[in-house]
Symmetry: C2
Subunit: 360 residues, 2 copies
Amino acid sequence: MTSTATAEDLGTRIEEALRRRFSERSAAAEHYGTEFVALWQAAAEHALGGKLIRPRLLIDLLRSLTPAGLTIAEVERAIDVAVHVELLHFAFLLHDDVIDGDLIRRRRPNLIGSLVERRSTEPAEPALHWARSSAILMGDLLLASAVLGFARADVSSDARTRLLALLEQTIFETVAGEHTDIGLSDGIIAPDLRTILSTSAYKTATYSFVLPLRAAAVLAGSSPAAEEQLTAIGRHLGLAYQLQDDLLSVFGDPEAHGKDAFSDLREGKETAIIAYARMTGHWPSIELRFGSMDLSVADASDIRDRLRECGAERFVRSLVQEQLGAVSTILGEAESAGTISPAAGRTILGLTSRIEGRTV
Amino acid sequence: MTSTATAEDLGTRIEEALRRRFSERSAAAEHYGTEFVALWQAAAEHALGGKLIRPRLLIDLLRSLTPAGLTIAEVERAIDVAVHVELLHFAFLLHDDVIDGDLIRRRRPNLIGSLVERRSTEPAEPALHWARSSAILMGDLLLASAVLGFARADVSSDARTRLLALLEQTIFETVAGEHTDIGLSDGIIAPDLRTILSTSAYKTATYSFVLPLRAAAVLAGSSPAAEEQLTAIGRHLGLAYQLQDDLLSVFGDPEAHGKDAFSDLREGKETAIIAYARMTGHWPSIELRFGSMDLSVADASDIRDRLRECGAERFVRSLVQEQLGAVSTILGEAESAGTISPAAGRTILGLTSRIEGRTV
């Protein structure tokens, strides 16, 4: 029996599996007091309702790598692995927000912000400490859950070994990227273009793109050669995605992308755009106001214009094209070699065009 | 072939396995830049050189649960699991230190303190942010490693399932205990005696005592009944240990136990001693100075004397005896029922008397 679920069905099913996971944990939390239950419930609210990009990518690719169709049991197994990829993502977000001191994500309070809001009648300092500590602990619980989920995947022993190696490498590399990213923002690591590009790839591409693609390959029983090609594809896609994100924050429409206008410029975020601008004669005039939290819209618009004039925008757009071009090249080789099916190639190209035309 | 390693050998072998693990990771870190390598090396320095109480407990109990002796392969397997118990411990310590804002542990700089020291010529705020963020990330890496280590244990599929369930419960309960403990110190959860006792059991007993004892039982192939009895024994032992720790901090000799004299009183730590004192008429005179960071030695000595007079010391010492008595009772029942061998009983009683006579 094969499954013929549509894309909407799939989203619903992933969401349901995720919701079930949080309900189970909230129920188990009851033994440990109301505050621990409240933390689980708050975490569930923030983890649910997302776009589920990573789990969807995993299952979309798995479907297209399996032309004969997936059995219902195979879909369930894949949803289970995909849910743990999403839990890993949420664990990373929580610790990122603690490290960055953020209380807001996409204009809404994040978990920390909402825990602080609940204690708005109490002294601010312990309320903030409680909220941040809670986010560290919830991140720990979800990180451990993600690894346990992979460890318990209902697959062959060989596939589980491959999944665990993949997850280990993913966590190591993501954390390495995050560590360098903090070093860049704390002024401890020099912001050269090469470091910034590799940091983006490690911090974002590895777990958001390489992990779902390779996990799909393992579940589909693809060859190590295919897995290797998907690793390279995931890196290029992820880097293109991150560079587009950087471009949107400076040159995009805040009404559309939903982030604070120019937040990267206010925070002094070391992006590829900035790394390029540093190497040009325009830098002294940009540097003066770059990274000041009270940057006016007029000043930010002026910086944006200078980043355009100095060629940084054009350069980063060309990098995006380069990454997406590399994806096409690898896909072409993989199709000729028969390592990745044309259907899987189309799934990946669909993603490529979504990244290319991204405005949100 | 059976192994006849002595206690010193065992400590050396655990230490070596732990060192090997850190060396491998430091080598893998090289690909990600010098700062990431430096973080791994600093973490290794802090993780090595400890007393290895938890891994030793696991292996001591496993040996006494296996009268026929362990093969060399079985010892290696047990050391591998024990090393991951130690990594979990270190991961918890790191996140604890971040949450508590501590830079010192046992009068020496902890990982955060030593990372700050390396940047002593730089502005303090980014150096501290960098150090704390690094500790969050290293905690994540070691937590994930601990779970991966259990997932990869070279044991039967049934034993691995039991080990993973044990680890999941351990992490969940430890984090629940830590969460409540933070709520107590932030004034969000009421410090009644019952909450404080269960928090101590969850936060310390579960991973420091229950986990090594039960893991040994699983590796020895003991019955679920034995595992259940060891769970109860671990809780009582761990609670006794924590209560002794609280007693030492207030009534012990700081020259011997190595912590700052009266640090619990300065930090306003909600212990069973304090919870008892709150219920007595002496509390108003204690409360005035309890939890003030500039508490003088004279004032602290005065509080100590009042905690003695109000009966808090006697009460908590009786709680310790109660916990240790409960261990003897369970052991007696287990020996009669044949679920835990006399040799294993002796190992546990040895631990009981070490906790009873503890001065450091």
